[in-house]
Amino acid sequence: MGKIEWAMWANEQALASGLILLAGGIVGVAGQFRGWEFAAYAVAAGVFVCLLEYPRGKRAKGTSVERTGQYCFTVCVKAFGPLTRNYYVRAFLHAAICVPGGFMLATVLGCVCLGIASLIYLAAAIRGEHWEPILPRKEVRKPVAESIKNPPQNPPPRPPPEMRRKQAKDLESAAYDNPIPVTSDE
C-alpha cells in the first residue's frame, strides 16, 4: 500500500459528503422538518465543502486528471495558501463542519460521511501529503542557440541583374556557375 495517496480518496469522499449534506439539508428545509435550522446550515456547509473539494489536487506521482472546469476553483482555493494546502487543517475543518449535521436525521448521513472524509484526510496529513494546485504548464522555450542571434548582414554574392535575368533565346549563356559546388542528394 506504499504508493497510495490517501488525499485522492479523501477528496472524492469529501466531495460526495458535501453533496449528501446539501441534499439532506434541502430535504430538511423544503419539508420544513423539525430542526430545519440545522438543515439550512447543512445547505450552506454542503455548498462550502463542495466548493473547497471540487478542485482536485496534483498527484505526487503520475499524471493528474482535472475535473471539468476546475481551473477557477483551483485559483480560489490556492489563494488561501497554507490553510488549504495543509491537510491537517482540512481534517479538523471537516470534523468541525460535520458536527451540527448530527442533530437532525436528514443530515446525519452527510455528517457521518464527512467525518469519514476527515479521518482519511488525517491519515493523508500524517503521511506528509499536501495539496498542490493543478496549473496549466507554462511553455518553456528552448534557449535560442547563439548563431541565430546574429543573422547575416549582407545578402549572398550574386552576379549583376543583367546576367541574372533569364535570356529565353540564349539559355546556354544565361546559366551561370555556382561559386560553391553543388551535389545532388540521393
Binding site: M1, I4, E12, Q13, G31, R34, G62, L105, C113, I116
Partner: protein, 583 residues
C-alpha cells in the same frame, strides 16, 4: 449513428430490456402502494412518500440481484463456452460485463437516493403524527398500540375479544424525548433504520473508492473497500425483517372499510360497522432476489480458493529489458485458449490481492507464460523478488486463477483481422501470433483467417526486444512457406527523438531495420489510421474485418470511430467490427 447501431445492436437491446424492466417494476409497485385499498390509512399518514419509498425499494431488489452476476467470471466463461456454436455477437456481449456492472451500480445509487429521501419524509411525518400535530384521524391512527392481547401482531385470527386487541400502524411509538431527536432515535433503534444507515454508508464508500482516479491509480484501495459489499448484502437481507411498513390486514379490511370509517374515529370499536382497524407488516422480500446470486458468487470465490491451493511450478524466469518480467509456469490440468488471462496471487507480497495478466504463450505449448511490466506496488515487489532469486531456483508460491476468456479468441473467426497493440498491450497478440505459427505448422483447418494486419505502437525501442524475437521467427517461417503476405505487420515508434533520427539517417540503406533487426521497417510517430483502414479496405473489398485493440481508451475511441466510418452497411462490402480488451 447507423454504423454504431450495426456494431452495438445487441448491447442496445439488453440495455433496453433492463431499463424496461426497471421502469415496469417501479410503476407496478408505485401503483400498488399509491392505490392499494389496504394502504389507505398508511397513505393518510404518509401521502405519496409511501409509494415513492416502496417503488425504488423494489427496483433495488431487482438490481442488487443483478449486480453480482457480471463479476462471476467463471459463470461467464461457462456461458461463453456454451455459446461457441452460437453467434459471435452473443460472446462479444459477455465482454461488456464490467460496463453492465457499473450501469447497475449507478441505478442502485440513484434508487438508494430516492428511497432514502422518501423515507426521511416518512419518518418526519410519522413523528409529527405521533406528536398529534396533524388532524384527528392521524392522531387516532398513531395512538393505536400493540396491546397485551395481541403480542404477536400477525396472529390476527384471534376472534375473541377483537374489540380490545389493537395493532399499531405508526411504527414510531416513542414520544417522551425531544421531538427533534425522535426521528434519529427511531432510525438508530429499529432494525430497518440502523441497517439502512450502515448499508448506505457502505455503498457511499464503495462508490467513492471506485471512481476512475482511485481505481486506476490506487487499485488496492478500490479492491479492499469494494469488499464492503459483504456488509452491504448482509445488511440488505435483514433490512426488511422488522415488518414496519404496515397495512390493514385481510380480516380487518372485511369488517372495517376506510372510506366509511375514516371520519368516525370516536366510534371505532363502538359501532358494528367500524371495529378498531388491525394492521400487519409485510415480510422481508429481498432475500428471495439476492440469495441465488450470492450463492453463485460464493462458489466463484471458493473456486478461486481451490485453484489457489493447487500447485504451480516455475519452468523459467526471465528478466527482460524495460523492467518486463517473463514467467513460464506449469500447472496440472491447466488448459487455455488464445489471448486469455489469469489472475495471479503471491502470498509473499500480499495475501489477499489477485491481479490479472494476459497470457503470452500459445495453447499448443506445454506451459503458460505471462509478461509482467512494472506498473505499481505489487508488480514492483514481484520483479524485485525475482531479481534477487539465485539462478535456477523456484520462485515464491504463486496462486493462479483462470483462465478467463476475452475477445481475442474470436481472432480466427474473422477472414481478416487487424490487431492493434499499444506498448505492453501487445501481450494477447503475442499469444495469437504464436498460436498461428503452431496452427500453420499443423495445417489446422480451424484457422479461418486469411490475412492478418498487426500494428504495434511503442514508445521506446528497448521494449521491442522480447517480441522482436517472436516476430523474427514468424518472419522466417512465412518466408519458408511462401506465405509472405499472410501476416503484414507495422511497427510504430512513437517516442523517437533527434538521436534516433541521426542514427537512422546514417543506416537507412540496410536491408533489415536498424531498431528491431526485422525486414519490415519501423515507422516513426503515430499511425495515420485513415490511411491504414483505407489500405485494408482496398485489399479486402468484400470481407468482414475484425479489429482488436489492447491499449488506451483514447485509441479505442479512435479505432471504434474508424471502424464505423469505413464499414459499409451493404453486407457485400467490407465491414469492420471493433473488439476491445479490457481490464
Amino acid at each position: 449513428m447507423g454504423n454504431w447501431f450495426v456494431n452495438n445492436w445487441f448491447s442496445a437491446i439488453i440495455i433496453s430490456v433492463w431499463m424496461g424492466l426497471n421502469i415496469f417494476i417501479f410503476v407496478w409497485f408505485y401503483f400498488t402502494y399509491e392505490h392499494g385499498e389496504k394502504f389507505y390509512y398508511t397513505r393518510h399518514l404518509l401521502g405519496s412518500a409511501l409509494a415513492w419509498a416502496r417503488a425504488p425499494a423494489a427496483v433495488l431488489n431487482f438490481n442488487c440481484m443483478l449486480i453480482l452476476l457480471p463479476v462471476c467470471r467463471n459463470l461467464l466463461s461457462l456461458l461463453r463456452g456454451s455459446f461457441v456454436r452460437c453467434s459471435r455477437t452473443m460472446r462479444k456481449q459477455l465482454d461488456k460485463n464490467l460496463t453492465f456492472h457499473k450501469l447497475v451500480a449507478y441505478m442502485i445509487a440513484l434508487m438508494t437516493a430516492v428511497h432514502t429521501v422518501a423515507h426521511l419524509l416518512n419518518v418526519e411525518w410519522l413523528n409529527n403524527s405521533r406528536q398529534g400535530v396533524y388532524d384527528k384521524l392521524s392522531t387516532a391512527l398513531s395512538n393505536l398500540e400493540d396491546t397485551d392481547d395481541s403480542h404477536d401482531s400477525h396472529d390476527s385470527h384471534e376472534s375473541d375479544d377483537s374489540d380490545h386487541k389493537t395493532t399499531y400502524l405508526n411504527p414510531i411509538r416513542k414520544n417522551d424525548i425531544d421531538p427533534q431527536q425522535i426521528p434519529t432515535y427511531f432510525v438508530f433503534t429499529s432494525i430497518a433504520g440502523l441497517t439502512g444507515v450502515i448499508i448506505t454508508l457502505a455503498l457511499i464508500l464503495i462508490i467513492t473508492s471506485s471512481m476512475e482516479v482511485i481505481r486506476r491509480n490506487y487499485f488496492e484501495v478500490f479492491w479492499y473497500t469494494h469488499h464492503l459489499f459483504i456488509i452491504f448484502f448482509a445488511g440488505l437481507v435483514i433490512h426488511g425483517i422488522g415488518y414496519i411498513v404496515r397495512r390493514q390486514d385481510e380480516d380487518s379490511y372485511e369488517e372495517h372499510k376506510p372510506l366509511f370509517c375514516h371520519n368516525r374515529t370516536e366510534d371505532w370499536g363502538k359501532i358494528p360497522e367500524c371495529p378498531t382497524p388491525q394492521f400487519e407488516g409485510g415480510p422481508a422480500q429481498t432475500w428471495r432476489y439476492v440469495i441465488g446470486p450470492m450463492v453463485i458468487y460464493l462458489c466463484e470465490r471458493l473456486l478461486r480458493f481451490i485453484r489457489y491451493m493447487q500447485n504451480v511450478q516455475y519452468r523459467k524466469i526471465v528478466m527482460r529489458p524495460s523492467k518486463v518480467l517473463e514467467l513460464q509456469l506449469v500447472k496440472k490440468g491447466f488448459k487455455m485458449d488464445v489471448g486469455q488471462y489469469v489472475f495471479l496471487n503471491c502470498p509473499a507480497i500480499s495475501q489477499l490481492e489477485w491481479h490479472p495478466f494476459t497470457m503470452t504463450s500459445a495453447p499448443e505449448e506445454d506451459f503458460f507464460s505471462v509478461h509482467i511490466r512494472s506498473a505499481g506496488d505489487w508488480t514492483d515487489k514481484l520483479i524485485d523478488i525475482m531479481e534477487k532469486l539465485p539462478e535456477g531456483a523456484q520462485g515464491p508460491k504463486m496462486g493462479v486463477d483462470g483462465p478467463f476468456g476475452t475477445a481475442s479468441e474470436d481472432v480466427f473467426d474473422y477472414e481478416v483481422s487487424m490487431l492493434v497493440g499499444a506498448g505492453i498491450g501487445v501481450t494477447p497478440f503475442a499469444s495469437i501470433l504464436k498460436s498461428i505459427w503452431y496452427k500453420f505448422k499443423d495445417n489446422d483447418p480451424k484457422l479461418r483467417t486469411r490475412k492478418i494486419y498487426f500494428y504495434w505502437l511503442c514508445r521506446e525501442t528497448n521494449a521491442f526486444e522480447w517480441f522482436a524475437d517472436l516476430l523474427k521467427a514468424q518472419e522466417n517461417e512465412m518466408e519458408e512457406r511462401g506465405m509472405g503476405d499472410f501476416l503484414t505487420y507495422k511497427l510504430f515508434l512513437t517516442g523517437w527523438d533527434q538521436s534516433h533520427v541521426n542514427y537512422i539517417m546514417v543506416n537507412m540503406d540496410q536491408e533489415t531495420d536498424v531498431v528491431t533487426g526485422l525486414k519490415q521497417k519501423t515507422h516513426y510517430g503515430r499511425p495515420n489510421w485513415d490511411k491504414e483502414f483505407e489500405q485494408v479496405r482496398n485489399e479486402n473489398p468484400t470481407s468482414v474485418v475484425g479489429t482488436f485493440l489492447c491499449g488506451p481508451e483514447a485509441l479505442g475511441k479512435v479505432l471504434e470511430k474508424k471502424c464505423g466510418k469505413y464499414s459499409d452497411v451493404d453486407p457485400r462490402k467490407t465491414k469492420f467490427y471493433f473488439n476491445k480488451e479490457n481490464f
